[in-house]
């Protein structure tokens, strides 16, 4: 058994004739922030959902902290904190009620839960809305509540799907620091993002997912070498490895002709 906190092997998921994942293999080691980069529909969210136990794989395996998530989902889920791309919460509950529910189901100790809840609520500035139904909160505040719910039990594995999407600059900065501290203590983070700068700055390793498979992975230097672009940015490397650079150029050319060079407009 490897030391990886997350390990998938031959992970496959099909919806009818559409293959969302086609034998995806990845490992995330303790102390790593692994960024999943890929175009829309590449399989990032499906990978995270399968690992979190929300979607069942068609084939392949997922190990979380050495536990087979398909055979022992209960213990595997105890090791995971998950934040969805669009927050999935009981929206008729308040943040206080939601955390009470979660902490009770997870069997956490009251003192530590209260301490963490207070610290997280103050950090993300949600104390004042602690008794407001989640349905009435803004998308950014919902995202903060989802992050609190993912962190409240201090899991070793964090699965974050575009976690910074709706966050303000302050909360975004706090979350990034929290993730760094989390991996320094031996935890692992698997997260998906579209923002190349964040991936470049935050991730220890990046996996480029395309067509339901990891087509390249490594740190930025390794990816540059793989793409044959010595000083390229992550975005340029990404475009090269996903064969989208030439396609993007031709689309931009066509758009320019129709929107900006058209004398009739």
């Amino acid at each position: 058994m490897s030391d990886a906190l997350i390990e998938t092997a031959g992970l496959t998921k099909t919806y009818g004739s559409f293959g969302a994942l086609n034998g995806l293999d990845l490992k995330v080691m303790p102390g790593e922030i692994y960024g999943l980069l890929g175009p829309n529909g590449a399989g990032k969210t499906t990978t995270l959902k399968i690992t979190a136990g929300l979607v069942e794989p068609t084939a392949g395996s997922v190990l979380v902290a050495g536990l087979d998530a398909t055979k022992d989902p209960l213990h595997a889920k105890a090791q995971i904190g998950y934040v969805a791309e669009v927050p999935i919460l009981y929206e008729s509950l308040t943040p206080r009620e939601l955390l009470e529910f979660e902490a009770s189901v997870r069997g956490l100790a009251k003192d530590s839960v209260n301490r963490r809840a207070r610290q997280l609520a103050e950090a993300f500035e949600v104390v004042s809305v602690f008794d407001s139904p989640i349905a009435t909160l803004s998308m950014g505040t919902k995202q903060k509540v989802a992050i609190m719910a993912a962190l409240i039990h201090q899991p070793p594995v964090l699965l974050l799907d575009e976690p910074l999407n709706s966050l303000d600059a302050r909360s975004s900065s706090i979350l990034k620091e929290l993730l760094s501290l989390h991996v320094q203590r031996g935890g692992a983070v698997l997260f998906s993002t579209h923002v190349m700068e964040i991936a470049q700055r935050l991730c220890s390793r990046i996996g480029i997912i395309f067509g339901g498979k990891i087509v390249a992975e490594g740190d930025l230097d390794q990816l540059r070498a793989r793409a044959g672009e010595k000083d390229a940015t992550l975005e340029e490397v990404f475009m090269k490895l996903t064969n989208e650079a030439s396609e993007v150029k031709s689309i931009v050319r066509a758009l320019r002709e129709s929107f900006f060079d058209d004398e009739d407009r």
Partner: protein
């Protein structure tokens, strides 16, 4: 914007709202069996198509039912009863009104909480046009049942009176009734959500919230009682209206919807200048005005609901973050009650104990003794009502169910918590029977075991229902209907079986002790068997 254009455009937000309501309640109910053989066989596309199919199907079924219900008060006359149409029209209007309000409120949770405005707000439309389209998309949720019920009323009045003018007056009364019904449904929905959202804090807020929920539940269930009692009410109302110059008739004729009923009756049978008829015409004029005002209010305020709700929700601010912890089943029970209390379609569960007690009491209230057969019927009926709850509780999970799926939760925790609530709701009815037993003589002391056995059977049935519901994989329409039927039939069988055993043993032996002993043994065996089945998951 022309009404015809607005009506055409309203199909888009209506579909979105209907889809959102159904999807919210049905998309994520399957707990799954991660890694244990089943697979997620239904894609998102299937889900979307199924939700839209259910929306159309549900609306049609409800319309057929309401049309039949609106026609029912006319049947005694159609079958030869000799009284006039006033009472029938009044009760038909009351039934149609109640169902417009009930169905509108039940299906429009998405409409009131988020509104179709976001769909339309990006289009270059005037605010008033957006409001009109919003209102018409709301009306679309009721269109089949409004058209069906009014057409049925017009048909019966025309048939029974042989007068086209009477039919026309019925059409007029039906239009007023529908306009007021739609307005009241909108108002009730927004009132409920505003007060629920604004009263989350403090003891006073909780008390207000509970009072609102109870009031709401009693109103909803009261509509059902009104409908069920229509057969008794028609002759009673007719008796009061038989003397049109009496003060009670005049006062009654001012009350909605008696005014409309008596006015239609006047057109049908000829105006006699009685006190009741004069009062009814005056009342009808007032209600016509009210319907116009309500319609204008509805058009003007539909678009601003989400904004108003948002303002109401921002009323209170918390200052601390302390949380209270419980055991998992208790936490799930509390979560279910909290979620249900903030969800209009499921909030009626808080009035269910009162309703069940009423059902149980009414079945034998006028009997001098507590006989075994009446107790069996009453307890079985009460138990059947309890079986509504597991489905309501699962539906009220909504999209939040995905949150629960990310936690280390066993199906048994969910099943036991929902089973516990369903059983607890049944207990007041049982308590009332035992109190009644202190006053009335029982056929045998052993019949006192019947309610106790019923508690065990209801607990077993509700546990089984939840377990079966969470265990089934989603599929096509046929699979959906089959699974629904199997789940409900299984629950009903578990409630019925112990009672059937009692009857099967008592009839040949006439021995209450043996029959009651067998009943309680069977119910206990059911509970132990189902609990063991659930505990393994």
């Amino acid at each position: 914007m022309k009404i015809a254009d607005a009506w055409r455009l309203s199909a888009i937000p209506y579909s979105e709202m209907a889809f959102r309501s159904i999807l919210q309640n049905s998309s994520n109910m399957w707990w799954g069996s991660f890694g244990r053989g089943s697979s997620e066989s239904s894609g998102r596309q299937d889900l979307v198509e199924r939700a839209l199919r259910i929306a159309r199907f549900d609306k049609l079924i409800v319309a057929v039912f309401v049309t039949a219900a609106a026609g029912a008060p006319f049947l005694p006359q159609a079958l030869g009863a000799s009284y006039g149409v006033s009472a029938s029209v009044t009760l038909s209007l009351a039934v149609a009104f109640a169902f417009i309000v009930l169905y509108g409120v039940q299906t429009l949770s998405s409409f009131v909480t988020s509104g179709p405005s976001p769909v339309l707000s990006t289009l270059p439309l005037m605010r008033r046009d957006v409001s009109l389209v919003n209102l018409l998309s709301f009306v679309r949720t009721n269109d089949y049942l409004v058209v069906g019920s009014v057409a049925c009323q017009v048909f019966f009045v025309s048939l029974l009176t042989g007068s086209a003018l009477s039919g026309l007056s019925m059409l007029f009364a039906g239009a007023i009734n529908s306009a007021i019904g739609v307005g009241v449904a909108l108002w009730l929905s927004s009132l409920f959500y505003r007060n629920i959202l604004a009263s989350k804090q403090g003891v006073g807020g909780s008390a207000l919230r509970l009072a609102l929920l109870l009031a709401w539940g009693i109103v909803v269930l009261g509509i059902g009682v009104l409908f069920a009692a229509a057969g008794y009410l028609i002759p009673m109302v007719q008796g009061v209206l038989a003397n049109p110059d009496a003060l009670t008739s005049t006062i009654l004729a001012l009350v909605y919807p008696f005014s409309l009923g008596v006015s239609v009756g006047s057109v049908a049978h000829g105006f006699t200048s009685s006190g009741a008829e004069t009062a009814a015409l005056g009342g009808t004029a007032v209600y016509l005005l009210v319907s116009v005002v309500i319609s204008r209010w509805s058009v003007g305020s539909v678009a601003s609901f989400p904004e108003r709700l948002s303002n109401a929700a921002g009323a209170g601010r918390a200052h601390d973050t302390s949380v209270a912890l419980r055991r998992p089943v208790a936490a799930y029970v509390l979560k279910d009650l909290r979620a249900a209390s903030a969800n209009l379609p499921s909030a009626f569960l808080f009035a269910l104990p009162a309703f069940e007690t009423l059902v149980v009491l009414l079945t034998r209230a006028f009997l001098p003794t507590l006989g075994a057969s009446t107790l069996l019927v009453a307890m079985t009926l009460g138990g059947m009502v309890s079986l509504i709850l597991p489905l309501v509780l699962i539906s009220s999970e909504g999209n939040g169910f995905d949150f629960a799926k990310t936690m280390p939760l066993r199906i048994r925790t969910i099943a036991f918590s929902k089973g516990l609530i369903a059983t607890a709701v049944f207990l007041p009815a049982v308590a009332v029977v035992y109190v009644e037993g202190l006053i009335k003589p029982m056929a045998s002391p052993f019949t006192a075991l019947i309610p106790a056995a019923s508690i065990l059977a209801v607990a077993a049935a509700s546990l089984l229902e939840v377990r079966l519901f969470l265990g089934f994989a989603p599929g096509g329409r046929a699979a959906f209907v089959l699974q629904e039927f199997a789940r409900m039939a299984a629950g009903a069988a578990v409630v019925l079986f112990p009672a059937a055993i009692y009857a099967a043993i008592y009839i040949p032996t006439l021995n209450h002790a043996l029959a009651a002993g067998a009943m309680i043994a069977i119910a206990l065996a059911e509970l132990v068997g189902v609990a063991d089945y659930v505990r393994r998951t």
